[in-house]
Every structure is written in C-alpha cells, then in structure tokens.
Amino acid sequence: MIYVKNLHKSYGKLEVLKGIDCHIREKEVVVVIGPSGSGKSTFLRCLNKLEEPTKGEIIIDGIPLNSEVNVNAIRREVGMVFQRFNLFPHMTAIQNITLAPVIVRNMNKAEAEKVAMELLAKVGLSDKAHEYPDHLSGGQQQRVAIARALAMKPKVMLFDETTSALDPEMVGEVLAVMKDLAREGMTMVAVTHEMGFAREVGDRVIFMDEGIIMEEGEPNEVFSNPKNARTQAFLSKIL
C-alpha cells in the first residue's frame, strides 16, 4: 500500500529524516513511537506531502508521490488527523465533513450530508451535527475531525499525535473511535504516545530516533523485549 524508500528530509542544515525505508501493507495498523524530535511527525507529514521530502521515494497505492497532480490525487486517498484538530471554525460539524466530498469529489450535497450523518453516528456525535467547533469539547472536535477525514473514503488514515492536545478524560473517547477503525480493517499509520493503544490494536510498532527507524516489530515483542539500547531507554522512561 505504502512504499517508502530512502526518505530524507532536511530543514537547511538540520537533517530530520536520515533515510527511512518501510513498507506498510493494506489493512495494517502501524504505530510510530519515539522521543520528541525523533522525526516521527515529519515522517508522517511526508506521507501526504505536507512536508516536501529532500530525497527519496514514496509510492502510495501504486502512485508515486512526485508531481503536483499526483499530490492532490494521493491526498484524496490519504486521510489525516492532526494533533490540534484543525476543524474549520466558521463551519458546523456537518459542514466541516461535507465540504471536501462536495468540492473535491463532486458528490451532491444531499448524498454528502447522508454520509456525514452516518459518520457522525459512528463517532457518537449525531446530536452535534449543527454545532460549531467552538461549542464542542476537544474530544468531540477530534472525533469530528476523524469523521471529516473518513468522509473522503480514504484508503489510508494518518494520525499525528491525535490525543496529545486532549484533556486526559477525553483521550479514551478518541482512542475508542481509532480502535473501531482499526478493527474495520482501515490501513492506519499513527504517531502516538498511547502505548496501550499500540499494544492493543497495533500490528507493528516502529521506534524512531534521530531520524531513522531504530527498531520495529510486533508490539508485544518490541514492548516486552526491545533489542535496541535506545528503544530500551525510551520505553523504560514511559512504561
């Protein structure tokens, strides 16, 4: 589904990604962990070209991510959920969800609204369809943001620390939605600090540090028996 070859990203002299190679299979749930500044968010943002890679190759669903034409085609297939929700504040929840299907996919409005209501029901917010983001809690906003990404019927979902900006009591409701998605067979790449989530639904854990993949494997294997000294040090601090 996603092939990444020798991916490099530098900001001026600062090299953030120093050669990432990985292959993410269809329906696989990959959890990316690592200390802050390890390049994990940058890696994720390269996957839908919110960051321009300095070097290397990314192929998503057979389409190489190189020209501007391909970028918009790929972004339609790759949903992204952000740490800070980034809902459109001038639109209600349902308007947030229907905008892209209507203007990008040319779906008619009634159809898009029907899909949006189904998605809102799925994330447990049917009663909030006509609320503006400012009237929703952080957890509710993030669930709307997930529904908004899903409305494009993406083949892959990227989650960039989606629970890090939430109050602790709201983390669970967002993780529950992500777990449902994983069980339904969505291909997912999630950067997260939620080790419980990684253990429960992750098919694979990737540990990144200093811009490279230090270790990867099945969650239980990586968490209970980390081989790399860096992984050991990181896990001992957070578990």
Binding site: G79, R84, N86, P89, I103
Partner: protein
C-alpha cells in the same frame, strides 16, 4: 467672538446634499478598493514572482505617494489613456472615485494580506490534506475566516477614506468640504461653516464605526473567544 450661525443654519440643505455625495464617493471608492485589495493581496502572497512583483509595486506606489498627487494624476491621465477629445459631463466624479479606489486598494491589500496570514497554518494543512487545491482551500477555508478578522481594520480604512474624500475638493467635486468652503467664502463666516463641516464628518465617521462594530458582533456570533 461674535459668530454668526445664520449662514451655517441656512445652508443645512446644501450640506446634507454634500454629505450624501461624500458618502457616495466613499462607498464607490471602497467598492473598488476591496476588489483591487483582494486581487493585490492574493498577488502579494502568490508563489509566482511576476504577480508578487506587480502587487508589491502597486502597493508601494499608492502607499508611497500622496493621495493629492494621485488624484491629479488620475484626473489628467484617464482622458489621455482613453484618447478622449473632450471630457464627459461629471467627469470629475469618475476621476475622483477611481483615484480614491486605486489608493485604498493598496491599503486594503495589506489589510487582506495580514488577515490571510493570520489564519493558522493548520487550516491550510487540513484543507490540503483533504485533497483541496490551493484555490479551493483559499476560497472555502481561508478567505471566509480572514474576512471576519479584517472587518475592524477595514472599518478604519473606510473612515480614513471618508475623511480623505475632502481632498476631492481640489478637482471641484462639490462634496462636504468643497461646499463648506464655497459658502464660507460667500458669507464671510468661515468658522461656523468649518465647524458645521467637522460636525458632519464626525457624525458620518461615528455612524460607520457603529456599523462596523455591529457587523463584527454579528459575524462573530459563532465564536466563544
């Protein structure tokens, strides 16, 4: 001091008409200014060097030269460019509105630019991540939010423009200042006439700022902040 207010009181109907003309000139200039301002702001933020350069040149010129000079320049330049042999009736109104519109376009461009740039990067990223093109993101996500934010500075520009419209007296447009000056000269009562003019301007600028405050409240009703 012994001021004679009769002249001012008798000229109220004339001043009313002149004030209305002032408002009309200003409204016309604002309409032109908003359109030019939006185009120039988008040009200024464009990745295309030529567009950006053109917008910067435009803004620098109109902000860097006096409005008075621009009014004369436009007044004499339009007939030349359009090869008019003689000036149409009421030509001074066209020249006046165009000159002020061109001028305010430069200021409004900077207001729009600041408004667009004040919108969080995450908004563009969210829009682009949903597959929207740059112009779709601009139109549906960024500009609606930016418009709301620029209402207060736009109101200030509207007020500044209304006051600056007094400069149009120089091309014999009988707006508020011009009319007051004529009557002051005829009646030898400059002080009451200019006090009257000042009061008219004050009432109009107050009305605009109230209206802007109202619009701001109305459009901000979805924000808790």
């Amino acid at each position: 001091m012994g001021l004679n207010w009769n002249a001012a009181i008798e000229s109220i109907p004339v001043l009313n008409r002149a004030a209305l003309l002032t408002l009309e000139l200003t409204a016309g200039a604002v309409a032109i200014g908003v359109v030019i301002g939006l185009i120039m702001a988008l040009g200024r933020l464009s990745k295309i060097t030529i567009l950006r350069g053109a917008a910067i040149t435009y803004i620098d010129f109109f902000r860097g030269t006096p409005l008075l000079v621009q009014i004369f320049l436009v007044y004499f330049l339009i007939p030349k460019l359009l090869h008019w042999q003689e000036l149409p009736d009421n030509y001074q109104y066209i020249a006046g509105i165009v000159a002020m519109g061109l001028n305010s376009g430069a200021y409004i461009a900077e207001i729009f630019r600041a408004g667009i740039q004040s919108i969080d990067r995450g908004q563009t990223e969210a829009a682009r991540s949903l597959g929207m093109t740059h112009s779709q993101a601009m139109r549906h996500v960024i500009l609606p939010q930016a418009f709301k934010r620029v209402i207060p500075p736009l109101g200030n520009e509207f007020i500044a423009l209304l006051k600056d419209s007094s400069l149009l007296s120089i091309i014999a447009i009988e707006e508020l200042f011009y009319s007051s000056k004529i009557i002051a000269g005829r009646t030898f009562q400059p002080i009451p006439m200019y006090i009257a003019a000042a009061l008219y301007y004050l009432v109009m600028t107050q009305l605009i700022s109230r209206w802007v405050a109202y619009m701001e409240r109305r459009l901000g009703k979805n924000d808790i902040r």
